[in-house]
């Protein structure tokens, strides 16, 4: 690993890229560039883009198999770009790339850095890399305190909980858990219950008011008991579940009984894995934003002849932005074209009430009006306010889906995917184009579950101190032979009974014993309601 100033050519290119970034008014943190060789790059990726990590068999496994794949020619050791955003941001360049490619990587990185600074999910974090380095030291200290064997066991157990991480969910730990202490960085602002002000006059016709602020008709005795129960729980355990908590890992991190060493393992794993939730929720906007700025800055560099090879760059660009069917999600392609489209909409003043209310199609087609705001300002406002879901919901239309070829499927896959002729609107020798209408809905569905089971903590005092997890049903069954080992691993972290409700079965692991029990199915909404009412979400007969 060496710093960029050791390479004169790259250092000059970096200065030019940063210069244009500032010229375009980008909001940039301090960006530090480093140059790595191929294997360092591969290793960095396996460390989740932090230059050091505590040793663990999973990273080792991925690295060994990656080296094997590279040596067998099954994988190329060339990677495009790697950046750890934050302030400062750390960007890593692969020394095997040409200067032109390095310039494009640097421009791309600037896009990511700005997105991280501006986005609605508040991804940018001061000194993220340094903080992780600090945690690595803590974990290594913890390893000595715990002893190698227990450390490995605990780490491997914590790996089981990693997919259950949802810091940006509406049921994240900050919203779901009421606590008597401030729980740290993962917790959002505490939501205080507003004092109930007696309403002296409620107009009968106000439907909205009735819906939003239902009158509290509960029995004063019950209300009093609920408050008492809440206070008792808080004073006894230090926390109370207000509603289901989807960020199971964060819950365990804050509320599982742990030693300092164990806590450092959980802290480390959570800190390095939590940003993946941001990535998955904003991938299309983020990659599109980076491609948008990359192209803009690169064109400037080519104009002033700071680097050469525009034809090669075009080839790489079109390769990266190659359209893929909607279910394969190429965020570079979709994101880039969406941002270009949005820029056009704002430039022509088409994001306005007038345009929407215009009934004449001809006038709409020829619409070109100054809106008063610069398109780029409007685009930055979008970055500050929405994530992929809302972005696609607002701007992706069936016409665009067809235009971007998101509905284009290779002929050879038609039979395999079971596509019926009725859904095909166009075809040639190599491709078929599907009806774009239902595709948007399909794409938006992704953001509700991200192809992962949704698991929530719904009770932290189930059957005498046990943790009760709930699998929110979406028609699919969990992999049955992984349930027991996963519960066993979670049991090691919670140090108490662990149970999981999935469909009509209650799986439990307590005191080294595993059990499965048939129970009546419970809806997620019922669980939420019961928890809101201060009742136990699940009571066994």
């Amino acid at each position: 690993m060496r710093m960029i100033h050791t390479d004169e050519v790259l250092n000059h290119l970096k200065d030019r890229v940063l210069y244009f970034g500032e010229e375009f008014g980008m909001t940039l943190p301090e960006v530090r560039f480093y140059i790595l060789d191929g294997l360092e790059f591969a290793s960095l990726l396996e460390k989740r883009v932090y230059p050091a990590s505590p040793s663990n068999i999973w990273e080792g496994k991925r690295m060994v198999s990656k080296k094997y794949r590279i040596s067998e020619g099954m994988e190329s050791s060339l990677y495009y770009e790697v950046v750890q955003t934050g302030n400062p941001s750390y960007a890593y360049l692969n020394n095997t790339n040409s200067p032109m490619m390095q310039a494009s990587v640097m421009a791309h990185v600037l896009g990511h850095c700005e997105f991280s600074e501006l986005n609605v999910l508040r991804d940018s974090n001061p000194d993220r890399t340094e903080f992780v380095m600090f945690l690595v030291k803590k974990v290594n200290l913890g390893r000595h305190q715990m002893g190698e064997k227990s450390f490995i066991s605990y780490w491997n157990a914590a790996e089981s909980a990693l997919p259950m991480m949802a810091p940006n969910s509406q049921y994240n730990v900050g919203r779901a858990v009421e606590s008597d202490t401030v729980t740290g960085t993962g917790t959002k602002k505490r939501v205080e219950e507003a004092p109930v002000t007696p309403s002296f006059y409620t107009p009968l016709s106000s439907t909205l008011d009735a819906l939003l602020r239902p009158r509290n008709d509960a029995n004063p005795y019950e209300r009093e008991m609920k408050t008492k129960l809440r206070q008792e729980t808080l004073s006894r355990r230090g926390f109370r579940l207000r509603c289901p908590c989807q960020d199971v890992f964060a819950f365990l991190r804050y509320y599982a009984p742990t030693t300092n060493a164990e806590r450092s393992v959980l802290d480390y794993l959570y800190t390095i894995h939590a940003p993946s939730d941001f990535v998955v929720r904003t991938q299309i906007m983020n990659e599109g934003w980076a491609m948008y700025w990359e192209k803009k800055i690169m064109l400037e560099l080519f104009k002033e002849r700071a680097c050469t090879g525009i034809i090669d760059y075009s080839k790489v660009f079109s390769g990266v932005c190659y359209p893929r069917p909607y279910y394969m999600r190429n965020p570079y392609h979709l994101g880039f074209h969406m941002w270009c489209h949005v820029e056009e909409l704002y430039r022509d003043g088409k994001v306005s009430l007038d345009y929407h209310e215009e009934k004449d199609q001809k006038a709409k087609d020829a619409w070109k009006r100054e809106s008063g705001t610069q398109p780029i300002d409007a685009m930055r406002h979008l970055v500050r306010t929405v994530t992929d879901y809302e972005y696609l919901r607002r701007f992706l239309t069936p016409e665009l889906i067809h235009q971007f070829h998101l509905n284009r499927v290779p002929q050879r896959d038609v039979a395999r995917l079971g596509i019926s002729k009725r859904d095909v609107i166009q075809e040639d020798r190599y491709w078929v184009w599907l009806n774009p209408e239902p595709i948007k809905k399909e794409m938006l569905k992704f953001f509700t579950h991200f192809y992962r089971p949704r698991i929530y903590v719904i009770d932290a005092d189930f059957e005498d101190g046990g943790l009760l997890l709930f699998h929110r049903d979406d028609g699919r069954r969990l992999k049955a032979n992984w349930i027991q080992p996963t519960l066993k691993n979670l049991n090691m972290i919670w140090k108490g009974g662990i149970s999981l409700v999935s469909k009509n079965t209650l799986y439990g692991y307590t005191g080294g014993r595993y059990r499965e029990m048939r129970i009546p199915e419970v809806d997620f909404e019922v669980v939420v309601d019961r928890m809101r009412d201060g009742k136990k979400p699940l009571v066994l007969d």
Binding site: M1, L18, L36, E40, N156, P453, H471, N481, K488
Partner: protein
């Protein structure tokens, strides 16, 4: 933006420690697999003379709540990693595999005699000095360039390109003596072609021969071992390795003649003081009455004094097999002559231990 130093402790990003941790984990798994490889595995996949072996293991993954069909095996749970149902491939170096086998079966290193005292001498050019015969032009030129820049005789910015070759800038390659002990080994494989070597019998024999082949290659180095194959029915003759399992004949059998032939070849064609001899006999053990007696005489008088190891293995012996019974009276606790009986696949490990294990 200012220039920063690298804020991390290490100046090179690597996953060495994690790979080490993973390899340790895999070694534990592998040592459990060794028995499987020896009894059930296809030893012909060992590769030719010291090449790597591709090993497939069940993939490991941390178990978690996921969708999908039930994988094979399932997560092992608790502290251990789970199994994902897929496969992981590794290339395992031949030496590493043999090391693991030796460790697992508690096999000692083979005793190397003879030319171990004789050193194989070679020279490598690793050091460089101011005096010598072979001039290292690249190093010399680098020093000349440095000196010329320092003395100011080489100033490209001024258009002066004069290089001064001084005597003290010259660098010569110096040979360094490297000594390695030199060993040589000859292995004689003797097979009885009068019995029906086909099907399982042939497989058992092949498996054992392959192991012996690899084990000696590993101990002496592949280039230092000569493997020779002999067969007999009522006559004994040498065959090519590929014909060892192919030739077959029905009829009477005299094993003593093959022992006699091998003993004569060992003395006549090699220098017994500098060569390590190994002999392995494979047969069904059915012999003429006086054959065993002759074998005992040949082994005792001609072979034991010069051979490092002599193995007699009865492969799937029948009721009338009595070779081992007869000669075991004489060689029951012998350090050189080892007897084995290979009835089933699972006996392979036991036979290997008998042939190569320690005996006090």
């Amino acid at each position: 933006m200012t220039l920063q130093s690298i804020p991390f402790d290490n100046d090179r990003i690597n996953s060495d420690e994690s790979e080490g941790a993973f390899n340790e984990f895999i070694e534990d798994q592998l040592s459990d697999l060794i028995e499987g490889i020896l009894t059930d595995g296809d030893l012909t996949e060992f590769g030719e003379r010291g090449s790597d072996l591709i090993v497939e293991l069940d993939d490991i993954q941390p178990p978690s709540f996921v969708y999908g069909d039930d994988g094979r095996g399932g997560g092992s749970g608790g502290s251990g990693p789970g199994s994902g149902g897929g496969k992981m491939s590794f290339s395992l170096p031949f030496d590493k595999l043999m090391e693991l086998i030796a460790e697992r079966l508690e096999l000692p290193d083979l005793k190397k005699e003879g030319r171990g005292k004789i050193k194989q001498v070679s020279y490598t050019f690793k050091t460089f000095g101011q005096l010598g015969i072979i001039l290292d032009k690249k190093r010399t030129f680098k020093r000349v360039l440095k000196t010329s820049i320092a003395t100011g005789s080489y100033q490209p910015q001024e258009g002066i390109y004069e290089l001064q070759f001084r005597r003290r800038d010259r660098r010569y390659k110096l040979p360094q003596r490297v000594e390695r002990p030199k060993y040589k080994a000859v292995v004689f494989y003797m097979g009885d072609i009068s019995y029906s070597t086909y099907g399982e019998r042939l497989e058992l024999e092949k498996r054992l021969v392959k192991f012996i082949h690899n084990w000696l290659d590993y101990n002496y180095g592949p280039k230092a071992v000569e493997h020779r194959f002999f067969v007999h029915d009522s006559e004994a003759y040498e065959v090519m390795p590929e014909d060892f399992y192919r030739v077959a004949n029905a009829g009477g059998t005299r094993a003593s003649i093959v022992f006699d032939l091998v003993a004569r070849i060992a003395v006549n064609e090699y220098d017994p003081t500098t060569t390590n001899f190994y002999g392995f006999y494979f047969g069904d053990g059915e012999l003429f009455a006086d054959d065993a007696k002759e074998i005992v005489t040949i082994v005792e008088e001609q072979m034991v004094p010069i051979f490092n190891r002599l193995g007699v293995v009865e492969v799937q012996p029948s009721r009338s097999s009595h070779l081992n019974t007869k000669i075991s009276n004489r060689f029951r606790r012998d350090k050189i002559v080892r007897l084995g009986e290979l009835k089933h696949k699972k006996d392979t490990i036991e036979v290997i231990k008998k042939l190569f294990g320690e005996r006090n």
